[in-house]
């Protein structure tokens, strides 16, 4: 955890530095010496750099790791791989909503998660994969009139 804190601190400082760089064109003070658009962002970016370096320094000098994780549960390697896989699948399929339509994309998402990751290849999984997207489509698109993309596969 100490090495992780060191990396976290350095990354935080780097994010702060990037924010400071991006905000460099913004004026701290405007006409009449009033706080302008850059006032808050630059102060916050500086604060992030300071906090990041502080965390990194504390990780180097602390005798005990700074562990804020209250969960005493040990996570298995397979659990972490599962979580990472779900995230990747989500990142790939969710944006397909506009390409192929909400219902097909969500059916595909649930099918990949249940059949591919959970390995529950049974009728119940198929029912969940179809019912959940259809139910949410009905509630949001029809009951609350929130337009959801139909895509090329379904009629408009």
């Amino acid at each position: 955890m100490r090495r992780l804190d060191l990396a976290t601190g350095l990354v935080t400082a780097a994010v702060g530095a990037f924010a400071l760089y991006d905000a460099s064109d913004l004026a701290m003070f405007g006409e009449g010496h009033v706080p302008s658009a850059g006032f808050f962002p630059k102060i916050l970016a500086g604060l992030l750099i300071f906090l990041g370096l502080l965390l990194a320094a504390m990780s180097l000098w602390a005798s005990a790791p700074i562990d804020d994780d209250d969960d005493d549960v040990e996570t298995s390697r397979s659990g972490k791989i599962k979580a990472a896989t779900v995230l990747v699948v989500y990142a790939v399929i969710a944006p397909l909503v506009e390409l192929i339509g909400y219902i097909p994309a969500m059916i595909l998402l649930v099918l990949v998660v249940l059949y591919g990751i959970e390995r529950r290849r049974d009728f119940r999984s198929a029912i969940v994969a179809v019912v959940m997207p259809l139910a949410t489509y009905y509630v949001f698109a029809h009951l609350f009139a929130i337009p959801l993309p139909n895509g090329p596969l379904l009629p408009a």
């Binding site: 808050f40 962002p41 209250d70």
Partner: protein, 553 residues
């Protein structure tokens, strides 16, 4: 006619069979709609269902609105406690202790406490509104940018008291949240900040997208590392285990009283809002409580105090709305719109010109909460049963709801990309031990804090002394310093160290005693979701016995 007589007459006008029916419908609709991501914010629920209320007579319509509002609030606490997903800003704080209680098999008592403390606080809020409105209105008018800035800084500095073992990580989370709140076009100068030329970021980052990613999806990912297809949480059997017991109510008396007062005062400040009310109340209670070591680990007071503040804030927020025509929050802004649509002009003379509208409206706030406790308290066992849904069904549903919730904000695919980004960020935060809640709090309070600070510095010609020269601002900042000093002192004093293994073992022994007592009263279905799966070898050798609950396949 004095205020009490007016209130009683208002109650009499409000409590017709038709009005009672519509307030029950309002509570039900508000709860159902409030559960849904994308519509969980009470302001959004009111906005979506406002057309329904306009079809009714004015008094009935406003009474139904009160029901909708309370229903949406309850929905927010429901999802926060059961699923660690806050669908509205004021229920973020409930994720600290409410969800921890749910993980300990006390979801029902937590939800019951939320409803009961809300009911009591709402009663106190309505009584205070009735008698104190003119006095509090004068106090609210005295709030200018420096006072408001001090209040926001107070709220943000309180982060240190709820950041767990590492204040530095808590402040990092807060700073990231503040930085995210600056994304978009600056209101003062019209300059783009951190938009990278992307038009979708001109209005900034959407709160709902950030919440869904940082809390809903990342929570799913964290749970996936442990849960193996079983139900998510422990479900106690027996109705007694599904509601708070006498000990809970006794422990939370002070928290409810404190939350009621805090919520009303903060709510009366235009712009105060239930978010900061609940957060301030939680932090105050944590610092005042005899059981402060339990906060963050499942303290019932950690549910009672913020929920009391959340509900009494409504009474406070009605003060500037009715007496000054100033909406104090998004929800009261929608209520103002409704009042105007009904032809009622809020302002200092409202109590004289439209008493037949005002007093039933005030009475309706109370009725809405009463209807909530009658309707939803018995339904708590039903809500808790939702947790029996196998996790392999629940988590894909959450993923789907997150997508539709994010997309429904603006109908933009960009929000789905942001959802994925915040899901990754939330997951990374959890793995690195950085608490996500300060980020969310800072994100919500950041824009108002920045505006107030900049306005104050404009007023004072960039002199920071304005914050100490004005009495209310000085008092608020002084309170903030006191709370921080107390928080640092209580961290460092002897006995304030994190519990040792012996302490934890003692707590476990106490929990077992409680469980044994519970077993006498009724069975508990124990699902040991965190036990690693025994290997096949171990099973064959007889080194492990079958668990009491077989995994669902």
């Amino acid at each position: 006619m004095n205020a009490l007589e007016n209130l009683l007459e208002g109650l009499a006008q409000a409590m017709t069979p038709q009005n009672l029916l519509w307030v029950l419908i309002g509570v039900t609709l508000g709860t159902i709609v409030g559960i849904l991501p994308g519509l969980g914010n009470p302001a959004a629920v009111l906005a979506v269902l406002l057309p329904l209320t306009l079809k009714l007579p004015p008094t009935t319509g406003l009474i139904m609105m009160a029901g909708l509002y309370h229903g949406a609030k309850f929905a927010g606490s429901t999802t926060a406690i059961l699923l660690n997903i806050p669908t509205e800003t004021s229920s973020v704080v409930l994720c600290y202790d409410g969800h921890k209680l749910a993980r300990q098999g006390r979801a029902g008592p937590a939800m019951g406490m939320s409803a009961i403390s809300g009911f009591i606080a709402s009663t106190i809020g309505v009584i205070a509104l009735t008698f104190l409105a003119p006095i509090v209105a004068q106090f609210a008018v005295a709030f200018g940018p420096p006072e408001f800035a001090a209040l926001m800084v107070f709220g943000l500095l309180l982060v240190i008291t709820v950041t767990g073992k590492s204040p530095v990580k808590g402040f990092i989370s807060m700073a990231v949240g503040l930085l995210l709140s600056t994304v978009g076009v600056d209101l003062f100068s019209g300059t783009e900040r951190f938009t990278f030329g992307n038009i979708n970021l001109f209005d900034g980052v959407e709160f709902l997208v950030l919440t869904l990613g940082m809390f809903a999806v990342s929570e799913v990912l964290i749970n996936l590392e442990h849960v193996r297809g079983k139900s998510l949480l422990e479900i106690p059997k027996g109705i007694r285990n599904l509601l708070p017991n006498k000990q809970d109510l006794k422990e939370c008396r002070g928290a409810i009283a404190q939350g009621s007062i805090t919520g009303f005062i903060v709510g009366a400040v235009p712009g105060g809002g239930s978010t900061i009310a609940s957060f301030v109340s939680y932090t105050l209670q944590k610092n005042m409580s005899r059981n402060r070591h339990k906060f963050g680990k499942g303290a019932m007071e950690g549910v009672a105090a913020p929920e009391a503040a959340n509900n009494s804030e409504v009474g406070g927020a009605m003060v500037p709305l009715l007496s000054l025509g100033l909406p104090g929050s998004a929800s009261t802004a929608v209520m103002l719109a409704a009042l105007l649509l009904f032809g009622v002009q809020p302002g200092p003379r409202l109590f004289e010109t439209n008493p037949e509208i005002v007093w039933p409206v005030i009475a309706s706030l109370y009725l809405g909460n009463f209807a909530l406790i009658i309707l939803n308290l018995p339904l708590i066992p039903l809500w808790v049963r939702l947790l029996k849904i196998p996790y392999w069904v629940l988590y894909p549903s959450i993923l789907v709801l997150a997508v539709v919730g994010a997309y429904s904000v603006r109908g933009s695919i960009f929000d789905i990309y942001m959802l994925i980004f915040f899901s990754l960020l939330g997951y990374a935060f959890r793995k690195l031990g950085i608490p996500p809640t300060p980020l969310l709090m800072a994100f919500v309070l950041g824009p108002e804090a920045e505006n107030a600070i900049r306005q104050s510095l404009i007023l004072s010609d960039n002199s920071l002394m304005i914050f100490v020269q004005r009495p209310i601002s000085a008092i608020v900042l002084g309170l903030a310093v006191l709370v921080i000093v107390w928080a640092i002192y209580s961290r460092r004093r002897p006995g304030a160290l994190p519990p040792t293994k012996a302490d934890i073992q003692q707590d476990d022994d106490m929990d077992e005693l409680t469980e044994a007592q519970q077993r006498e009263a009724g069975e508990i279905i124990k699902v040991d979701v965190f036990a690693p799966e025994p290997s096949d070898e171990a099973r064959e050798d007889g080194r492990v016995t079958p668990s009491t609950h077989s995994p669902e396949r």
